[in-house]
Amino acid sequence: MLNDKDAFLLVSDLTVIYTSRKKVVRAVNGVSFEMKKGETLGLVGETGAGKTTIAKSILRVLPDPPAKVLGGKIMLEGKDLMKVPEKEMLKIRGEKIAMIFQDPMTALNPLMTIGDQIIEGLKLHNNCSEAEAAQKAKELLEMVGIHAERFNEYPFEFSGGMKQRVVIAMALACEPDLLLADEPTTALDVTIQAQILDLINKLKVKYGISMILITHNLGVVAQTCDHVAVIYAGKIIEYGSKRDIFVNCAHPYTRGLFASLPSFSKDASRLKPIAGSMPDPTNLPLGCAFNPRCLSGIEDCNDSETPLIEISQGHFVRCCSVQQRDKFYASADRSQKSE
């Protein structure tokens, strides 16, 4: 998966733990991926899979302690973000990389007007006067569909959807190259979600922004992303283009996710859930972390680290049974040809 030296963003072997007095939580366990400029990557997975931790490590805003980045590399346009001094990182945050946080209710400062909150970043990065920044902030508000007159209002005067727009305006203020959107629509109603997704898609095209979209809503991924990485217990277990994942998904977990969705078209009386729940990240099983819940498990699963294998061009899967099946088909193909 990692071959392109000129990738816009390259994350390799990222490992993050959280420590408490007694326990070590293995949140991210060797995640690697790369992105091209203008691409949208969806990070999909259940609560606690490590999605948000990945995004926060890229921005280097993980609280240390308890979080600790044990290893890995994060290269943004060839620059290693892990090695950049904090002073330079301050310039990168907001200007190069911006983040839309999950919960618009808590991401805003309740004691500052929304205008001041947008201006803060603009003044810091653009070295412009108060009046210029205010002018720009008003333009941003109009762009996300909020009247500029509401510039001096406080967050409590806005509804959830409006607050999320303010957060988006803040993230876009300095025209970042990379946008990390952490569940930007999870707290919103579907009609408002549709408006926000439409807005994000338009802005992405307008500014050529690359985006990492974190969500557990597969519908949102289908409508916005180019590539998808499915995360389970801190590892990428399947990665591929949107078509690879939504039409030809191979990992038992990904297939389970799709099977457990109630469908609009089919009239199944019972859903097919994945049995059990995610393993305790303080006590991950040996071998494949999904094995305890997996229906197609084989002997190899328990043994050792399952590698991420490319099963077709650009489609990677971390699963012993899929790999064994593929090997079987490949050898069958070969024997057929030799006959």
Partner: protein
């Protein structure tokens, strides 16, 4: 035979500094025994208030609630205690609806102790039966809520609601805080329990795919009013109200070849405080016309069992 639940012109207003907040306004429907009614709508449309008012967690401002033909709108004292044994609720958030200081078995047996239905000596056995029923390992009976994950906590909430063998359970967004794989487990559990025990549900949610899956009838609410009500499949196959249409079109499809074309709704929900007469959806409706603001919308049976509150329903769908 009367329906198990009948709600007649139920209203619930809250007094706020700015005036009267119409959370639920003149809502009527019936639920047959053993069936499920789904209530859908955006946040703030009054769906949770409706559920809470129906089971008497809040006093109704106006209207009547009948349980098995008996008016329970204003019963009190011992009579209300009897009603509580028949109607129960599963709350939205399994993290805040369980007492963090009570062990699982204490949480589940609390309604048993309060109702006096079971002798003290039977409590332990009944609790184990309930835990079995909802699929929680009996070895977890001494655990505290923080030791369980969201799916298991919601199962505890369901066991607690089932404890007194109720006839009617209001499920207030029971799966919205759960991941899809866990959500499917809980939905299956609720449906199995209905098959086994014939419980009647009112399922409050904003997730339309979930509601289609579990409900016999669906009722769509907008700003405290019912705008469309029909058998669940029909609501999806022949949607009539412009709001329901917009709601359905806004669901992002998991089919990557099918591009979402949401019907744009202007702005957001208007204020439920001192609403003007006339259609409440008017400010956002793509079909709005002069006549819509003048007259109040009345729920009209357009086809059999399919009710719509829209003046222009025949023009729009004609």
């Amino acid at each position: 035979m009367p329906a198990l639940i009948e709600v007649k012109n139920l209203s619930k207003y809250f007094k706020v500094p700015a005036g009267m907040l119409h959370a639920v306004d003149n809502v009527s429907f019936t639920i047959e025994k053993g069936e499920t009614l789904g209530i859908v709508g955006e946040s703030g449309c009054g769906k949770s208030t409706l559920g809470r008012t129906m089971i008497r967690l809040q006093e109704a401002t106006d209207g009547h609630i009948f349980l098995d033909g008996e008016d329970i709108t204003h019963v009190s004292g011992n009579k209300l205690k009897e009603v509580r044994k028949k109607v129960q609720i599963v709350f939205q958030d399994p993290y805040s609806s369980l007492n963090p200081r009570l062990r699982i078995d204490d949480t589940i047996s609390e309604p048993l102790r309060n109702s006096g239905l079971y002798a003290r000596s039977e409590l332990k056995e009944r609790t184990s039966t309930l835990m079995d029923l909802v699929g929680i390992d009996v070895r977890l009976r001494q655990s505290y809520p923080h030791e369980l994950d969201g799916g298991r906590r919601q199962r505890v909430g369901i066991a607690r609601a089932l404890a007194v063998n109720p006839e009617f359970i209001v499920c207030d967004e029971p799966v919205s805080s759960l991941d899809v794989s866990i959500q499917a487990q809980v939905l299956n559990l609720l449906m199995d329990l209905q098959d086994q025990m014939g419980v009647t549900y009112m399922f409050v949610t904003h997730d339309l795919s979930v509601v289609r899956h579990i409900s016999n009838h669906i009722c769509v609410m907008y700003l405290g009013e019912v705008v469309e009500m029909s058998p669940s499949k029909e609501l999806f196959s022949s949607t009539l109200h412009p709001y329901t249409k917009a709601l359905l079109s806004a669901i992002p499809s998991i089919d990557i070849d099918q591009h979402m074309q949401p019907i744009p709704l202007r702005g957001e929900l208007s204020s439920p405080i001192n609403p003007k007469p006339g259609c409440r959806f008017f400010p956002r409706c793509p079909y709005a016309k002069g006549g819509c603001i003048e007259n109040p919308q009345v729920l009209e049976e357009v086809t059999t069992q399919h009710f719509v509150a829209c003046h222009r329903v025949h023009e729009i769908n004609g």
